[in-house]
């Protein structure tokens, strides 16, 4: 989503971009739950709890209530998490240990280990992908060595392999075609009926609190945080005697949304992206002149207002138009995807325009698309490579500094 919106968000200033990202990811998570509830389709792994409980909810004619409850849980958990993130950021700024080289290096190592253990591939494949990511990140001028490496005499490579065209080609385009393929197979016959007469009940505060805390804490785990948050909260809730299907999905939804906010902490304090959409944000912020730990009251206000407005709008939109919207997408999916593909290709051209390297960027993008399609065909998930590539520029200077500080 962030990739598709690149032309529209690339000129946003810092606070707005962070707020936009938080709102977008929150609404995205909520929408995928709506699709899961209504159509029984898995948006991503975080919708698994919803899918597990869906049959019971439909049998009890609670679909409408479930939708409102997940919306409410999403909004409250996200706003609470923004507050907790603010507190944690203050704490992080005061607590100087967070800024230590060894702490940062431990975070980087955790990312590497998470990449090596990435569940989408076998260990050996992850190892190769990590090596490829490392090589990719090293191409170009090396500030520490004071010379260019791995450029093979190609002048354009002195600036390094441009990350976004590679990311778009290897990751976004195959995802786009996979989504197009999934949509063409979609069956809408299973869409649930809605009883709008049922009274709307608010989610119990304890359920939301449990989900929010679990999600916020799991979100801090590099790479896997968001993925496991909903399932963890769902599991914990299911162990409570009085739990119902509604409380279980509400807790899972709260956890899911809390995690997408707390996942911002490593990004904001260390400048490390720990999920693909964050990678785009880091890239954008870096190009726009971002330095870490820059959050202000303005950022929090924009995030709060954006999330609140986003969830309410999303809820209203989903409630009234979810079936028509998905029908429309299914019917016109080819044109929608061609449009998005063209948009991404234009993004790549646009990215290279400032430095007169549009053609070079397009070549890198085209090669990346081919590699991406190959990886997709071989059922290889490129995420470990992307993460190692991202942390590569941080990894070696940090490792060397660590040696200088404590060994040499």
């Amino acid at each position: 989503m962030m990739i598709m919106l690149y032309p529209f968000v690339s000129h946003l200033e810092f606070n707005t971009l962070i707020a936009f990202y938080a709102t977008m990811i929150t609404c995205g998570q909520f929408s995928s739950s709506v699709v899961g509830l209504w159509l029984g389709l898995a948006g991503d792994v975080t919708t698994i709890p919803v899918l597990k409980e869906r049959r019971e909810i439909i049998n009890s004619n609670l679909l409408w209530t479930a939708l409102y409850r997940t919306g409410q849980a999403s909004a409250v958990a996200t706003l609470a998490s923004v507050v907790m993130l603010g507190i944690l950021m203050q704490f992080g700024a005061e607590f100087r240990q967070f800024l230590r080289t060894d702490v940062f290096f431990v975070i980087l190592i955790m990312v590497v280990f998470s990449a090596l253990g990435w569940a989408g591939n076998r260990f050996r494949t992850n190892l190769l992908l990590c090596a490829a990511g490392l090589v990719g990140s090293l191409i170009g001028y090396n500030q520490f060595l004071g010379k260019s490496i791995l450029t093979m005499g190609v002048e354009f490579l002195v600036g390094g392999l441009p990350f976004l065209p590679v990311l778009l080609g290897i990751y976004a385009i195959p995802m786009l075609f996979a989504a197009m393929s999934d949509m063409s197979k979609m069956n809408l016959a299973d869409a649930g009926s809605v009883d709008t007469t049922r009274p709307i009940q608010l989610v119990p505060a304890a359920v939301m609190a449990r989900g929010t805390v679990i999600g916020f804490l799991t979100g801090l785990l590099p790479l896997i945080g968001v993925t496991v948050s909903a399932s963890t909260a769902h599991y914990v809730e299911s162990k409570i005697n009085s739990s119902t299907a509604l409380s279980r999905i509400s807790s899972a939804e709260a956890a899911n949304n809390a995690a997408v906010i707390s996942v911002l902490f490593p990004l904001l304090i260390f400048g490390v992206a720990i999920q693909p959409s964050e990678a785009i944000v880091v890239n954008l912020l870096t190009d726009r002149g971002w330095s870490i730990n820059q959050l202000s009251m303005d950022t929090y206000l924009k995030m709060g207002v954006g999330i609140l407005f986003g969830i309410v709008a999303c809820l209203a939109f989903c409630v009234h138009y979810v079936t028509q919207m998905i029908n429309w997408f299914v019917r016109y999916n080819r044109y929608v995807f061609y449009f998005i593909f063209a948009l991404i290709a234009c993004d790549v051209w646009y990215l290279g325009m400032d430095s007169d390297r549009s053609v070079f960027y397009m070549i890198v993008f085209a090669i990346s698309v081919v590699i991406g399609r190959f990886l997709y065909w071989k059922k290889i998930d490129p995420v470990p490579m992307i993460f190692v590539w991202l942390i590569g520029p941080h990894f070696w200077p940090t490792a060397y500094r660590l040696l200088q500080l404590y060994v040499l």
Partner: protein
């Protein structure tokens, strides 16, 4: 097919917006986000816009080689933000650029000595008086002033080690975490103001802001200022004069002067003539 073409064209129209203006140029900044060079370019932008200039900023995130290469080949009107430190490099280095001449010098934005500051609980002059191991945080190549750290090492009764940080921002974070005993850099005064360090010496020729010249310890580091300047390429001579005057004026305005003041940067050369500025810059290019 027509629908596909239409979607393609629509996407292109949305994604690519091109603007053409006579008074257009791009700032090329060798460093990344949040650095002084980028901050100053951002602060100049609204004023330049008011004066009719259409500007954009490209950051090179420490990749001086890519920026040097771009400067050599670009045909677009460009302002390179560069420092006198980069002229210390060997001629065959990928990052080397010839110093500016009066024809393309726009303005020296600021200059400042490097400060030597004791971090945290480290006694301010301990490095010169007390045996022990001292770690000095320095900036990565090409901003590492090896002759300065060599001089400090020679004057110290202890063991002096250097620890390389990727930039001034990383140095400030390292000082906040009290990872090293000393910091050497132009950001020293910022760290001191944050209460995390006490600056004792500077690389300039005289006492400055309560710090003594390092030349008193070792003559080889006497009189060294880091200078950041803007030089043009592909900007017509007629516009160049106008840009030079506009930038000199904007550098004296309140937001910029406040910025320079908080960082203890000196700016008086920014209003001098191009010849004087080039002369001042060339004199600073020495090891």
């Amino acid at each position: 097919m027509i629908k596909k073409l239409l979607t393609l064209v629509t996407a292109m129209v949305i994604a690519v917006s091109a603007s053409a203006a006579d008074k257009t140029f791009t700032f090329l900044i060798p460093w990344g986000g949040g650095t002084n060079d980028q901050n100053i370019a951002e602060l100049l932008t609204p004023g330049l816009k008011q004066l009719g200039w259409d500007t954009s900023i490209v950051l090179y995130n420490g990749n001086c080689a890519a920026m040097a290469q771009e400067l050599k080949v670009t045909k677009k009107p460009t302002i390179a933000v560069w420092s006198n430190r980069d002229h210390l490099l060997p001629l065959d280095h990928e990052c080397y650029l010839a110093p500016p001449a009066a024809q393309n010098m726009i303005s020296i934005w600021y200059y400042a000595p490097d400060y030597l500051c004791a971090v945290g609980k480290t006694a301010p002059n301990a490095i010169f008086t007390t045996p022990g191991t001292y770690r000095i945080s320095v900036q990565a190549f090409p901003s590492t002033l090896t002759w300065v750290t060599d001089a400090i090492r020679a004057a110290s009764p202890g063991t002096v080690k250097t620890v390389i940080y990727t930039g001034s921002g990383a140095q400030i974070r390292g000082a906040a975490a009290q990872e090293t005993e000393y910091v050497l850099g132009t950001s020293g005064k910022v760290i001191e103001r944050n209460g995390q360090a006490v600056c004792t010496h500077n690389t300039g020729p005289t006492e400055l802001l309560g710090t003594r010249p390092l030349g008193e310890i070792n003559q080889s580091v006497m009189n060294y200022y880091m200078m950041v300047y803007a030089a043009s390429k592909n900007i017509p001579a007629s516009l160049q004069t106008e840009l030079r005057a506009d930038m000199a004026r904007l550098l004296q305005t309140q937001p910029l002067q406040d910025y320079f003041k908080t960082r203890q940067f000196m700016t008086k050369m920014s209003t001098a003539s191009a010849d004087e500025q080039v002369d001042f810059l060339l004199k600073s290019i020495k090891k």
